[in-house]
């Protein structure tokens, strides 16, 4: 026995050798070592025998299988398209992978799948590597086979970190423009370094450095003219991604085959477009320029890549001569506002399709009087018309409906079944834990006549708490406490169980409602969406209604949730915070739980003698055909106790010179065989602007009742309009700005601020006006930092006194922080340092608010490069944005 060989018997290397885990060189070494060592070879044999036996023992273990329903869920998901519904047909199996750089402050999307722009060639995989601190746009790597290639250390690290496939990155000095690393191109690999037109830069370890080795941090815009179409497109995309890095953008719209991009958010509005008269060169855009529309494109969101929003196209102006009737279903949903706020608080703008203006409007309560005790109808209707704030030639008509309040002790007994999504995706602080706390809040407000059951669904669904009277609140509370998330979602079985539970504990004449709490990953298992909607509609007939409460981010299936709640005569709210839970489940509990009128429809008949055209603001997916109004079989929205509903019409008057061009569509020809309908006597003599008609059914009724309100044509100046009117128009303006609506007219940040301040003067709604201003200021920080400064100036110029300004921060450190940020930005802008200091002083004097920043005015300098300044501000803002 050779002493030197002794250690080999107990060397992991020998085991690795026996199991074939060594590479050729090492294996050869071991073989040499044990060549004439019988014992060692025996050990190898033994190891192999043991391994073989172990393998077969494992194989002989009982075969475990998924349940049939689980297997079905899996198989379904193989068929579903995983990203967003709006994929266009040019999507291929090719992938872009990008590795974002390691910038400390960047809150990045680490991987996205994007369609490639390669129109020719057959790349399988594209890897983009983007040094965050580089002006160089990165490397495009086209890889035709999945075989491993070498990595430079820096990139290797990033590749491992971001889970991307191996790629080749070569160090070297960069010539101008784009440059193919492999020359000649190998058949399997094409690697490109994408350089700014600057020969002094080079790539070292995957990072871009200047010749002296310092990392490049220049973010100035780059005009690139490139010859290679493919690369130009890559480049454009990389630039968009870089914009994303800078601004934490979540939105991309990319056209099929063509490069185009809108990258919005995080303070940066950066996009790309082709230069005029040139299809091959691209320019980085900033600011307003960047916000351009691309139709038929692809919506991809970053970490929210599974969020899906149905497309919304703003209602158009309609000619009264052609469409004298406007009909829609009311909607009391509020989810869009809270969802929008979630985006803004996270430092980005919501995708336009996530903004439903009617939900923004209805998020807020207005000071409408409810119906009197003796009123036969369960709600009161208020119409107010004044000059339109964003187009002084137009009128804005506001239709407000207020449902009868129900005192909490008059509230009918309530039978609630919570249907909770406890799938793995709910295991985040803003999901299941928030659901639990929300339920606890609601429970505090339920009485002994009420009963609660809890059904959960995940991999399997089950009844966690049978229907329990609130006399046993402790039992309910501890059931809530025990909830935990895990498994994946199968909502189909859960929803049936929930309805069955509700049916078993049905309270005659009471409120019977299933409340679905989910993050939207509502996997219906074997049943289709259509089946699910039918199920919910079926159950609605047995007077069990459905409400949907949405939680969390990243997975939000907005359109599906709204569809479900609509089918179930329910409401749909998005809960992003405990405060929101309190609003929906406690403050507005009556409305959330008790329906006082159902299938409420509104129809407006415009007087052609006065009105030339009109536009319904929002309610895009609630528009009904004129004949549906009198059709009692057509489903429409519900009003809950105490709910307010607000709808706005923008009205163009006859004689307005714009009237012929304002409509979005050309007029139809006059009819050959019929006479054009002419205004009748009533039109000419009544002096009415329009007639508002409403239809509704009692909650248990099947026949609708009709209400009619003629509205006189009077000129009311905006200044004389009610505070509520102004506030509602502020909210609508905000919505139009967020949506980039073509009809936003003169709506601006300043006008929203001006209008919203009216809400502050209305004592009963001051709290919500504050909240709106708070969100709005935050929005201005994201959308346009320099306009935060404009807001500061507007605040200074306003007639708000010091304590009113200070009251914006009343007891709310979050708002104070945001104001502080606006102040910081304003202080940095030329000419604003002084007024900002003045404002700060006023706030401090008034409330002792500490503004923890050093407000040293910037040194006087020659006219600065505005762009640089802007980007600096944006970067600064990005670091100051609160993490979500």
């Amino acid at each position: 026995m050779n002493q030197s060989n002794n250690n080999i018997y107990d060397d992991p290397k020998l085991t690795a050798y026996a199991l074939g885990e060594l590479d050729a060189t090492e294996a050869a070494e071991v073989e040499t070592l044990i060549a004439d060592d019988d014992a060692a070879r025996k050990v190898v044999d033994e190891i192999r025998q043991t391994a073989k036996q172990l393998e077969s023992e494992f194989a002989d273990e009982p075969r475990l299988s998924l349940n049939d329903s689980q297997r079905e869920v899996v198989k379904q998901s193989a068929k579903q398209i995983p990203i967003v519904e709006t994929r266009s047909s040019f999507l291929t199996s090719r992938r872009f992978w990008m590795s974002a750089g390691l910038a400390a402050a960047a809150c990045l999307v680490l991987s996205l799948s994007l369609p490639t722009f390669w129109e020719d060639g057959d790349a399988d995989l594209v890897v983009l590597d983007m040094p965050a601190d580089a002006s160089v746009v990165g490397k495009a790597h086209i890889k035709r086979t999945p075989s491993a290639t070498s990595l430079s250390p820096g990139v290797q690290e990033e590749a491992a970190r971001f889970n991307i496939s191996p790629m080749t990155v070569k160090d070297g000095n960069g010539p101008v423009g784009l440059h193919s690393v492999d020359s000649p191109k190998s058949p399997t690999n094409e690697v490109y370094e994408l350089f700014k037109a600057n020969p002094t830069l080079s790539i070292r370890d995957g990072r871009v450095v200047a010749n002296d080795g310092t990392p490049v941090t220049d973010y100035s815009s780059v005009d690139l003219s490139v010859q290679d179409k493919k690369l130009a497109k890559t480049l454009a995309l990389v630039n968009a991604l870089r914009a994303q890095q800078q601004g934490k953008n979540l939105n991309y719209k990319l056209t099929g085959g063509r490069v185009g991009g809108v990258a919005v958010g995080g303070g940066a509005n950066v996009g790309l477009r082709t230069k005029p008269n040139s299809s091959e060169s691209y320019r980085i855009l900033t600011g307003d320029e960047a916000r351009w529309n691309i139709s038929g494109g692809l919506l991809l969101t970053g970490d929210s890549s599974r969020e899906a929003y149905a497309r919304i196209v703003d209602n158009k102006f309609m000619r009264v001569g052609e469409q004298p009737l406007s009909t829609f279903s009311i909607d009391v949903d509020t989810a869009s506002y809270a969802n929008m706020r979630r985006f803004i608080n996270g430092g980005s703008l919501p995708p336009p399709d996530a903004v439903r203006i009617e939900e923004l409007l209805n998020y807020f309560n207005y000071d409408y009087a409810g119906p009197t005790e003796t009123d036969e109808h369960p709600f009161a209707t208020h119409v107010e018309v004044a000059v339109c704030p964003w187009n002084s030639k137009h009128r804005l008509a506001r239709i407000g409906i207020k449902g009868r309040e129900i005192e909490s002790d008059m509230r009918p007994a309530t039978n609630l079944v919570f249907l909770l999504d406890v799938s793995g995706s709910m295991n985040q602080p803003n999901k299941l834990p928030l659901v639990k706390r929300s339920m606890q809040l609601l429970l505090n407000n339920l009485t002994v006549d009420d009963r609660v059951a809890i059904v959960v669904y995940a991999g399997a669904s089950g009844l966690v708490l049978p229907s329990t009277y609130c006399t046993d609140k402790q039992v309910i509370l501890s059931a809530i406490e025990r909830l935990h998330a895990g498994g994946s979602t199968n909502g189909g079985a859960g929803i049936e169980l929930a309805y069955n539970t509700a049916a078993q504990s049905f309270i005659e004449g009471g409120v019977n409602r299933v409340i679905l709490c989910t993050d939207g990953d509502f996997n219906v298992g074997i049943s289709s969406d259509g089946d699910l909607v039918r199920l919910i509609e079926e159950k609605r007939k047995s007077h069990i209604f459905l409400s949907v409460l949405g939680f969390g981010t990243g997975n939000w299936q907005d359109s599906k949730m709204e569809q479900l709640s609509n089918a179930g005569n329910g409401n749909f709210a998005y809960i992003d915070s405990l405060r929101e839970a309190n609003k929906v489940l406690v403050e507005e509990m009556g409305g959330t739980l008790v329906t006082i009128a159902k299938d409420v429809k509104i129809q407006i008949e415009f007087n052609p003698a006065v009105v030339s055209s009109y536009r319904l603001i929002g309610y895009e997916n609630r528009v009904l055909a004129a004949q549906d109004f009198n059709d009692d079989t057509k489903d429409a929205g519900e009003i809950g106790a105490g709910h307010t509903v607000t709808a706005l019409y923008e009205i163009v008057l006859v004689g307005d010179e714009e009237e012929l061009t304002i409509a979005d569509t050309p007029p139809v020809d006059d009819l050959k065989y019929q006479e054009k309908v002419k205004p009748n006597e009533a039109a000419k003599t009544t002096g009415e602007l329009m007639t508002v008609k409403l239809r509704y059914k009692e909650p248990e009724g099947d026949v609708s009742k009709l209400l009619e309100y003629p509205i006189m044509d009077e000129v009311i100046e905006l200044a004389d309009a009610s505070a509520d009117f102004k506030f509602a128009s502020a909210v609508a303006s905000f919505g139009m700005l967020l949506r980039g609506s073509p009809h936003k007219g003169n709506a601006t940040f300043e006008s929203v601020l001006y209008l919203a301040r009216a809400g502050l003067s209305n004592s009963s709604n001051m709290g919500q006006a504050h909240r709106f201003l708070e969100d709005f200021i935050h929005y201005t920080l994201i959308a346009k930092p320099e306009l935060a400064a404009a807001n500061i100036r507007a605040l200074l110029d306003s007639d708000l006194n010091d304590s009113e300004i200070a009251s914006l921060t009343n007891g709310n450190p979050d708002l104070r922080d945001r104001l502080t940020r606006a102040i910081v930005m304003a202080a940095k802008l030329e000419g604003l340092a002084e007024p900002t200091q003045e404002l700060t002083k006023r706030i401090e004097n008034s409330r002792g608010v500490v503004v923890p920043v050093n407000l040293v005015p910037p040194p006087a300098k020659a006219k600065t490069n505005y762009r640089e300044e802007f980007i600096e501000l944006v970067n600064k803002a990005a670091t100051m944005m609160p993490k979500q």
Partner: protein, 186 residues
């Protein structure tokens, strides 16, 4: 152009065939209960369907076991079930469902082997399972367990050695022995 979905269904079927049971057993080991394991594994496959192919292709099994492990550990943490499944439970499952189809001798040995396995440290058990049930390479195991291939080599070596020794009680435990060894024939 194809969007690759039909291929996914085909790929999924073969992967279910090969990995469903090993993943479930692995997850059951980690979570300590078969039902949780089913939830976990369903989730693994759903994610598999939704994940970007580029992140998976070429290293499917590593991906599956990594996701499975992370999900299982999440579940375990959440449920506070910190102990591994009692091994007699697994053995019991083995007995009731498989006795009739497995030769008595094999069954005995199987039980012996499983019992021996359960006497090993957790990390060795896990590595051995990934290696011999999952069929993963050292490198893949290292990625799943977030350690180095060298370390995996040590764990598997130590585990196999212990099993060898226990299977061959007559054998002198010194690896330097030259005694004539009758393996697996007792």
């Amino acid at each position: 152009m194809t969007d690759g979905r039909p291929n996914l269904t085909i790929q999924l079927n073969s992967i279910l065939e090969r990995y469903e049971s090993p993943l479930l057993r692995y997850a059951a080991k980690l979570t300590g209960d078969v039902e949780s394991a089913r939830d976990v594994v369903q989730d693994v496959f759903v994610r598999f369907c939704e994940a970007d192919r580029a992140s998976i292709d070429g290293r499917v099994e590593q991906w599956l076991f990594t996701v499975c492990r992370n999900r299982a550990l999440d579940v375990k943490r959440k449920d506070g079930r910190m102990k591994l499944i009692a091994d007699d439970k697994i053995a019991a499952i083995s007995h009731t469902t498989f006795n009739s189809t497995v030769k008595a001798e094999q069954s005995e040995q199987s039980q012996g082997m499983l019992q021996m396995l359960s006497s090993l440290p957790d990390n060795q058990q896990e590595a051995l399972r990934l290696k011999f049930d999952g069929g993963l390479s050292y490198k893949a195991i290292a990625n799943v367990l977030e350690t180095t291939p060298g370390n995996v080599g040590v764990m598997i070596h130590a585990g196999l050695k212990k099993l060898r020794e226990q299977l061959n009680p007559s054998e002198n435990q010194s690896p330097t022995t030259t005694a004539n060894i009758k393996r697996f024939s007792t």
